[in-house]
Symmetry: C2
């Protein structure tokens, strides 16, 4: 008997979560076709110029045969990444570093090495939306550790009954996407102690490492006291050096078993782009001023964003301490509906703004419905214009849809 339809696709494919951000992009594109300028603050794609020093080698030293690179990554790049970690006080060996197709692959490798299908990982909620996709594709469950804007996204002092026999690891980004929270060395040490008590791994996504703006200095989880080598760092140069499109990340661990397992995954996929690696290895040649300039750019942008949000009635947005995201609670019932309004129905002097509804970052489907995440990836003038659109759009939305406002406004941003 010949089948006239195809078999079903896998459960894990069916269970892949909808991407919380990208589905609004077609609406923004439609607005642009109508002639509306859309300030895009929805994804973490910075406008920062990639340092020209990085592309210099492409002018002089391209290979004649673009052969596979080393599966662990080109040595010059691994040394550059090692030196980058040393700058924040983490001493690792170049062999502790596995170069990956962005932090995405590093995270996939880490979850695959630590978890079988059915296992679980704890993560602060809200969390980076793509963690949901990676874990779903691997059949790994994510269990939320609730955190709240009102507490500056503080972690609870114990993991409590969230840990069960299936729990394998704690996963968080620090500085945090989407929250902009930055957990200090002391706080993360406490989390590592909790991981030790429950015999869990600790995966720290340090894609935004160095982009910190408060009283606590930048550091890496690899500089914590970690006698069993329980910490696995996932990182990328995408955000810190504006190399998103080069797709170069890394998995860093002193743990030999994890190194061996992830190296076997890396060997199966042969290598990363040698061309991208050649460029990113040049981060080692940048001077400290170039690095500081990038951090200072985001510091200014976040300060401005916070200042402007504080002037919008009913908005609650405690200041971000790291990364380049600002979460904001809006005086609306459904921020997703409001964001659609901004790109589908609203414009202000021919402009509007696209932000990310925050619900897509929450594992708990009842939370974040009145929140947005603003990615401060545009310059100060654009941010001013974008926040003007947000404020005007909010007034217009509440006037047109009075049933969509919330009654008593929450406390003003501080």
């Amino acid at each position: 008997m010949t089948s006239n339809s195809t078999p079903k696709i896998s459960r894990r494919a069916l269970e892949m979560p909808q991407n919380a951000i990208r589905h609004l992009v077609p609406l923004a594109e439609a607005a642009e076709r109508r002639g509306v300028h859309v300030h895009r603050l929805n994804i973490g794609q910075p406008d920062i110029v990639t340092p020209p020093e990085l592309s210099a080698p492409l002018e002089s030293s391209l290979p004649s045969v673009f052969a596979y690179g080393h599966s662990a990554g080109d040595l010059s790049l691994r040394r550059a990444l090692r030196n980058d970690l040393a700058r924040v006080g983490a001493q690792v060996h170049e062999d502790d570093i596995l170069v990956t197709h962005g932090a995405s692959e590093a995270l996939t490798f880490a979850l695959t090495a630590l978890c079988d299908a059915g296992d679980e990982v704890l993560t602060p909620d809200p969390t980076y939306a793509n963690y949901l996709g990676f874990s779903a594709s691997l059949g790994v469950g994510l269990r939320p550790i609730p955190t709240f804007a009102e507490d500056r996204w503080a972690l609870p002092s114990t993991l409590g009954d969230r840990v069960n026999s299936k729990t394998r690891a704690i996963l968080l980004s620090n500085p945090g996407n989407p929250t902009g929270a930055f957990y200090s060395r002391e706080v993360l040490s406490g989390l590592l102690q909790a991981a030790r008590r429950h015999d869990l791994w600790l995966i720290v996504d340090e894609v935004y490492r160095g982009l910190v703006f408060g009283e606590h200095p930048a550091y890496s989880a690899l500089s914590l006291d970690d006698p069993e080598h329980r910490v696995i760092v996932v990182e990328s140069t995408s955000k810190r050096y504006s190399t998103c499109g080069l797709r170069i990340g890394a998995l860093v661990t002193r743990n030999a078993a994890i190194r061996e397992a992830t190296m076997s995954f890396a060997q199966a996929r042969l290598s990363c782009s040698v061309l991208s690696q050649q460029m990113v290895a040049q981060i080692d040649t940048l001077d400290e001023d170039a690095r500081e300039a990038i951090t200072n750019t985001y510091r200014e942008r976040l300060a401005l964003t916070h200042e402007l949000l504080a002037t919008i009635p009913g908005v609650y947005a405690p200041p971000a301490e790291g990364a380049f995201y600002q979460m904001a609670t809006l005086p609306v019932r459904d921020a997703s509906r409001f964001v659609r309004f901004l790109v589908e129905e609203f414009s202000c002097d021919g402009e509007t703004v696209l932000v990310a509804p925050a619900a897509g970052f929450y594992l708990d489907p009842t939370r974040g419905i009145d929140q947005i995440r603003i990615a401060c990836v545009l310059g100060l003038d654009s941010l001013r214009a974008a926040l003007r659109c947000l404020a005007a759009g909010l007034r217009a939305y509440l006037a047109a849809h009075p049933d969509q406002g919330v009654g008593a406004p929450p406390p003003r941003a501080t």
Copy 2:
């Protein structure tokens, strides 16, 4: 109670197979340190110069911000890949093409979309060694369809009782790695019919598409009669255009459910290297002569390799019909031990040769133990020297280890 050791790593990580080829590389490196020149015919890394046309855009049009590309791949690259398929008679739409980090990621996406942990995939045995790694990391079982050099690696006429309730797909490379077999359009149509009867997907790895040397013309499985869109093609420009290190591949399917599922995986990892994509998109500018030159280069190399193998007593090696690999059965008990001998103990005029023991390509642990795979990735002079080393090494090995020879030599190569 604080744990003083780390938790175990996952079962799937523990079950990752050893890479069959790479573990010999340190031995070859040691030989090189002793001053022995090692002709490396162990992996599919061609020496062919990457067409200089591909890197031309790097000289004139680098972006100032290396931003994320489109998750499906840059449009110009997808159009170039579409045109490349059209040249062998497969008409697909650019939206049927998802650009991936090499064929490796395309295969991982396909297996993830089709299979849950515990499901099974049929594949001709021997098979591409890294299929074992990809499927192990996803918890998918590979079940062998035995094929034999003596039958020119012919597929059986039915799948028989190899199909069970867990079987989801058939996976094969065509032209084949490691066999060099090329299944004609008629043969593959028969396999697709079998897939229809058993309601399975058919994944065809066409990384070596176009590199065919016999009576049957090159084609793509996407040109077969496939009313349900059951065929998924995995491909890469690595081998055909010598772009291995750029890590650009693709998953091509007309099946909407698979497209949607794999696109959600692609969105989670954001994009491929925009720099690599920019280069590979230039394959569209190459003239037909450039393409034919590459095919002709491999035709000559495989013909020479076959001719020289036929002069070595006791070697059985029917000619390869595609890709750039030649399998050979040697008159030894353990080809792996012989290959180690070649790089550890032997040299001939200061030279030796590294080939891949074929056992690593077999799912059945009892097969392929007396076979090697030769990757014809070096020029004719190097191949001559390498085959001279192989013949001399074989004589030396059998003289030194008479217990390691086989009694009656098998039939000579034809």
